[in-house]
């Protein structure tokens, strides 16, 4: 206790001086230490009703309107497990290659806090529904790494307490109390803030593909606590860990990790021992501070929940969940690279969101020009969606019509830039017209017919006799000029490939 007190006095000074210290912490000193991070992610499940009660889970309602005797912890009430919440937890486990626990026993975690009216949270302790597993991440330098999972377990959310400035009381809203959660606990495998960020991006992608959580960290449907420690490189033992809470964006998780990394190194360098404690992140200053509100001694006295019978995941039930699994981002990524021959980068962008990936997969059933399809998706389609902040489900062009546009390019009727700059904008507005009709109406069909191109080429050459002579005496660079003239005379409709071929034939003979 005395040690903690001293450290806390030191700490106030430390925070004030941190900006200076940060600059003083040389790369050389920093490099001596390895960062070790494990993340605990809570994901609110997209069920209609709560984990153990039938209240609605809808977000954004008036305070204390989605409540029941169970949620408020009235005596004599009995919880009952939501089947869908169990299925969602199993889905996440299957997506992470975890072992699924067949016999699930719930546990009581006892503590007193005003946002928990029962005085205990119904969670899982010794037998989490998913054991082990992994989440593969890709880093910016192309490195691939797998972050191992310890467990995923089911539990219920607490209510929301508000501590308003100038208000004597804490205000409590129980709409959120009892909303189903899964807690995804990683092993301390994360070695940089970038890895932490990449891991969270993957978790968010997974829960959204599985449609089990909306993944919105700002609204709190995805929350993250970080266990952070440092150790001298090569050291086998982990250092004392600090738990950081209250980070409401991926960016803030990585800021908090960076800050803790330096703070802990600085303390160790000064000969001060790190204390295992819970700290809160302050987004305005980018610093963390010790939390001293919860009791120092966390003794949750877990015991098997007597009000709930075990949930047994039978072979049959597990099979039916497996069958209902959608394609996962890594499966689609693999398909886009290996079957469609797309670059890793394209596959990464296209599998970023499930809806875009599925649209693209649908498009690729209608065309074989996968690279053109990918270029269209990553360029004009994405920029249209971004500009109007639209979802792909609101995109006015069906995969069928987009495939027709690609066919026009493939058949040499229009080139890629005419397709994207002239036809595509009309397709966005004219939902009934086919790309071919639009191209015809706008007189954009390329002349790829040699018979109709020949007179144009001949007249260009006749008008530029001097240049023709220069070309023939070796100034091959003039080819571009001739092509420019041909394009001009054909009002941009000459198929460049055919025109170049014809020009070369005539000039080189």
């Amino acid at each position: 206790m005395l040690l903690a007190l001293e450290a806390s006095i030191f700490e106030t000074n430390f925070i004030e001086q941190h900006e200076i210290i940060k600059n003083m912490l040389s790369a050389e000193i920093k490099d001596k230490y390895e960062l070790v991070v494990g993340l605990e992610v809570h994901a609110q499940l997209l069920t209609k009703s709560k984990m153990y009660a039938t209240d609605s889970t809808e977000y954004g309602n008036l305070p204390n309107t989605h409540i029941s005797v169970l949620t408020l912890g009235h005596p004599g009430t009995l919880p009952k497990v939501n089947r869908k919440a169990v299925e969602f937890a199993v889905k996440m486990g299957l997506a992470c290659n975890s072992q699924i626990t067949r016999k699930n026993i719930f546990a009581r975690k006892n503590y007193f806090y005003p946002d928990l009216p029962k005085g205990y949270q119904i969670t899982q302790d010794k037998d989490p529904i998913c054991v082990g597993g992994e989440v593969p991440v890709s880093l910016s330098d192309g490195t691939k790494k797998s972050i191992a999972l310890t467990r995923i377990h089911m539990e219920e959310d607490a209510g929301k307490s508000m501590h308003l400035a100038g208000e004597v009381d804490t205000l409590v809203d129980f709409n959120r109390a009892g909303v189903p959660l899964i807690e995804i606990v990683s092993e301390p495998d994360i070695r940089s803030s970038e890895e932490a960020y990449a891991y969270l991006v993957e978790i968010k992608k997974l829960v959204r593909y599985l449609d089990i959580c909306d993944g919105n960290m700002e609204e709190g449907s995805l929350r993250c606590d970080a266990n952070i420690s440092v150790r001298i490189r090569g050291e086998k033992e982990y250092g004392k860990k600090v738990e950081v809470k209250n980070m409401n964006s991926f960016r803030n998780v990585s800021r908090a990790i960076e800050y803790e990394y330096e703070r802990q190194i600085e303390l160790i360098e000064k000969g001060v021992e790190i204390i295992s404690e819970t700290r809160t992140f302050d987004a305005t200053t980018g610093t963390t501070a010790s939390m001293r509100t919860k009791e120092d001694l966390n003794d949750y006295r877990y015991f098997p929940e007597p009000d709930l019978s075990p949930v047994v995941v039978s072979e049959e039930w597990l099979e039916s969940i497996k069958v209902s699994m959608p394609s996962l981002p890594r499966e689609l990524h693999h398909k886009f690279v290996n079957e469609f021959g797309l670059p890793e980068y394209d596959a990464g962008v296209l599998t970023d969101s499930k809806e875009i990936a599925l649209y693209f997969e649908g498009l690729c059933k209608l065309t074989k020009n996968y690279k053109a399809a990918s270029n269209l998706m990553m360029g004009p389609v994405k920029s249209y969606l971004n500009e109007l902040t639209l979802h792909i489900s609101d995109f006015p062009i069906s995969p069928e019509r987009l495939a027709q546009l690609i066919s026009l390019i493939d058949e040499g009727k229009v080139n890629f830039s005419v397709a994207t700059q002239k036809i595509y904008p009309v397709m966005l507005k004219e939902r009934e017209q086919s790309p071919l009709t639009i191209a015809q109406n706008l007189n954009l069909i390329q002349e790829s017919d040699e018979g109709s191109l020949l007179p144009i080429i001949e007249s260009v050459l006749a008008e530029n006799e001097a240049k023709v002579a220069e070309y023939r005496s070796g100034k091959k660079g003039l080819m571009g000029m001739f092509m420019g003239q041909v394009m001009k005379k054909s009002h941009g409709k000459a198929d460049p490939k055919v025109a170049t071929k014809l020009l070369a034939e005539i000039l080189d003979n």
Binding site: N64, K80, A85, I105, M162, P304, V311
Partner: protein, 95 residues
């Protein structure tokens, strides 16, 4: 198993109970006696017996994901020691 006063104080804190020194002494003796009595179970050989977690043999008593009846806002707040028109009010938790 002898319970000491520190354990009594720790348990009292966790359960948010308050009593004086004399009460603590009495509770210490009671708790020791209760534990001694329960400890008789250690005489039974439980090798290979799965721990009992529920009294019934039922499994998978599950509920479909459907929204049911709610407690009205007014009724929910009716018994709160302190409240306003929207919230339950409790003594401030954070300084």
């Amino acid at each position: 198993m002898q319970i000491d006063l520190n354990t009594v104080k720790k348990m009292a804190h966790l359960a948010r109970l308050e009593f004086d020194e004399k009460g603590a002494e009495k509770i210490k003796n009671d708790m020791t006696q209760i534990l001694d009595w329960v400890e008789q179970l250690n005489e039974v050989d439980t090798e290979g017996v799965e721990p009992l977690t529920t009294m019934s043999s039922e499994v998978n008593v599950l509920r479909e994901d459907k929204v049911g009846e709610h407690l009205s806002h007014e009724r929910g707040l009716a018994n709160a020691p302190q409240k306003d028109s929207d919230y339950f009010r409790v003594p401030k938790v954070l300084e």
